[in-house]
Subunit: 309 residues, 2 copies
Amino acid sequence: MRIDPLASWNEGRAKQSIIEFVSRVTDSGTPDFVPPTERIAVFDNDGTLWSEKPMYVQVLFALDRVDMLAPMHPEWRDQEPFASLLEGDVGAALAGGEHSILEIVMATHADMTTAEFHEIVREWLASAKHPTTERLYTEMVYQPMLEVLSYLRANGFKTFVVSGGGIEFVRPWAEEAYGIPPEQVIGSSIKTAFRMRDGEPLLVRSPELNFFDEKEGKPVAINQHIGRLPIAAFGNSDGDLQMLQWTTAGPGPRLAVYVHHTDGDREWAYDRESSVGRLDEGLDEAREKDWIVADMKKDWKIIYPHEMG
Amino acid sequence: MRIDPLASWNEGRAKQSIIEFVSRVTDSGTPDFVPPTERIAVFDNDGTLWSEKPMYVQVLFALDRVDMLAPMHPEWRDQEPFASLLEGDVGAALAGGEHSILEIVMATHADMTTAEFHEIVREWLASAKHPTTERLYTEMVYQPMLEVLSYLRANGFKTFVVSGGGIEFVRPWAEEAYGIPPEQVIGSSIKTAFRMRDGEPLLVRSPELNFFDEKEGKPVAINQHIGRLPIAAFGNSDGDLQMLQWTTAGPGPRLAVYVHHTDGDREWAYDRESSVGRLDEGLDEAREKDWIVADMKKDWKIIYPHEMG
C-alpha cells in the first residue's frame, strides 16, 4: 500500500495539481524534467504556513515586548503609539498604519545583539499563547502545508520561507516547525552593524529598516538570496502576488498556489476586505491565470497538527 | 589504500590542521561533534579561490565592458574615469580610488535585467583571457582549495562563497567552478527593482549600491544570508579579517585559514604592501591568534588544475 503524501488534503483539483506538478518535474524521461538543483519552492509564512489572525504573530510579540519594556520607558505614557497600547487600545495605537507599526517594531526589536534577539524570540514562542485558541503559536501551523513541504523535499526540492515578517523573527523556530534551516529563510530586516565589544565581535541590531520583503520586494529578495527563479510558490495574500508572478514567468512547468482562507469555523474566513492578509487582486489574477486556489474549507481535512487522529 | 582528500597539499601544519578540524567536528563520540546542519564553511573568492592579480577579475570585466560600450557613449571621451580608460591608462582611471571604480561598475553593470547581466557574464568568462597567463579565468581557480571544498562537503559541510565582488558576477559560474549553487553565493550588490514589461515580470539592475560585502560587511552579510555562525572560514586579505573574527567567536572547534600569497613564480607574491588583496593587519592577528596561514609556496604542490599530472 502506498502512503498518501498529502493525507490531510481532500481529493480535488488542488491536491491533484500539486501531485501532477511534482510528477512532471521529477520524471527524467520527459522534457518537463527539472534537475534537483533547480527544484526551488518558496513559501510565504503568515497565513500560508501558520495562522495570522487576529494579527500577525510578530505584532503580538511586539505588543508583549512593549508591555515588558514599559517600566524602562516612562516617556511612553505620553507618546503615541505607545500610550494607546499601554492603555490596551491596540486599534488606536495602530491607527497610524505602517508608521506606527514600524515605530513599535524598532522600539522592541532593535538595540540588542542578534544573539540576544534570537533568545528573546525563542523564549516568547515557548510560552506565549494565542488570544483565542490559547495554543502555542507554533502549534498553529497548517498540517496540510507541512505535508506539502515534506512531499516537495522528498522529491528533491529545496524549500524556502519568503516572509513579509522579520527574517530574524522566523529563523529561531522555522527549522523545528517547518524543517527549513535559517539559510533558507528570507524576510524583512532591520540593519545590523558589526561591533567589537571587549575583543568580542557582535552584530548589533539598529532601529533602521534594511529591507521590506513584501509585494515587489519578494522577487527582489528571492533573487538576492537564492539567485535563481523558483519553480513553485505558495502564498495567501496580495503581498505574495509578485512572488507568484515571478515564479510563473519562467519556462517549463510552474506551480503557483494561493491558500484561500474560507473556513470561519476551523480557522478564519477572510479575503478581499481583510486588513491582515488581504487577498483581492491576487484572487482575480489567480482565476484569470488558472493558478491553484486551495480552499481551506473544502480542500483541507484538518487545519492544525493537533487535530490528527 | 585511502585516497588523500587534500592530495595537492604538502604535508605540514596547514594540511594537518584542516584534517584534524574535520575529524573533530564529525566524530559523534566527542563533545566537539557538530551536527551536519551547523557545519557551515565560508570562503572569500578573489585571492582565496581564484587569482586576483594583476587586478580583480571583475575589474577586468568592467574595463572590457567600457571598451565595448564606448561607441554608445561618445561623452566618455571627455569624462573621467572613462576618458583615461579609453586611452589605455588604467592607472590614471583608477586614481580616483573607490569612487572611480564605483562609477565604472555602475556604468557597466546596471540598467539591464538580472537575466541579461547573467548572460553577459557567462559569455565574457567563456572567452576572456588573463592578461599574462592567457588562460580562461575559470582555469585560474586554486586546485588545493577545490580539494578543501570537496573534502568539507564530503564531510557534511555546506560551503558558501562570501565575496567582496558582485554577488551576480560570481553566481553564473560558481556552481560549475566550485560546486557552489547560487543560493550559497554571497557578495556585494547593487539595487534591483521589480518591473512589469508587456505583462512580463523583470528585475532591473539599478546604478545604486545596495551592499558592500567587505570587512565589517562580511559578518553582516553572513548573518543576513545564512543566519548562523560558520564554523570554518577561509580568506586571504584584510577584507576577510572580520569574517574570520566572527567565525572564531563561537564556542567549540573553529577553523580560520588565511591563504598567503608567497609564490611569485607559480602565482604572485604579495601581502602587506599590495593594493589588491592586502594582507597586513590580518597577518598579525593570524599569528597572534594562532590561525592557520597556508603558505602557497610551501603548502601547495600545485596551484591550478591544469598542472595536475
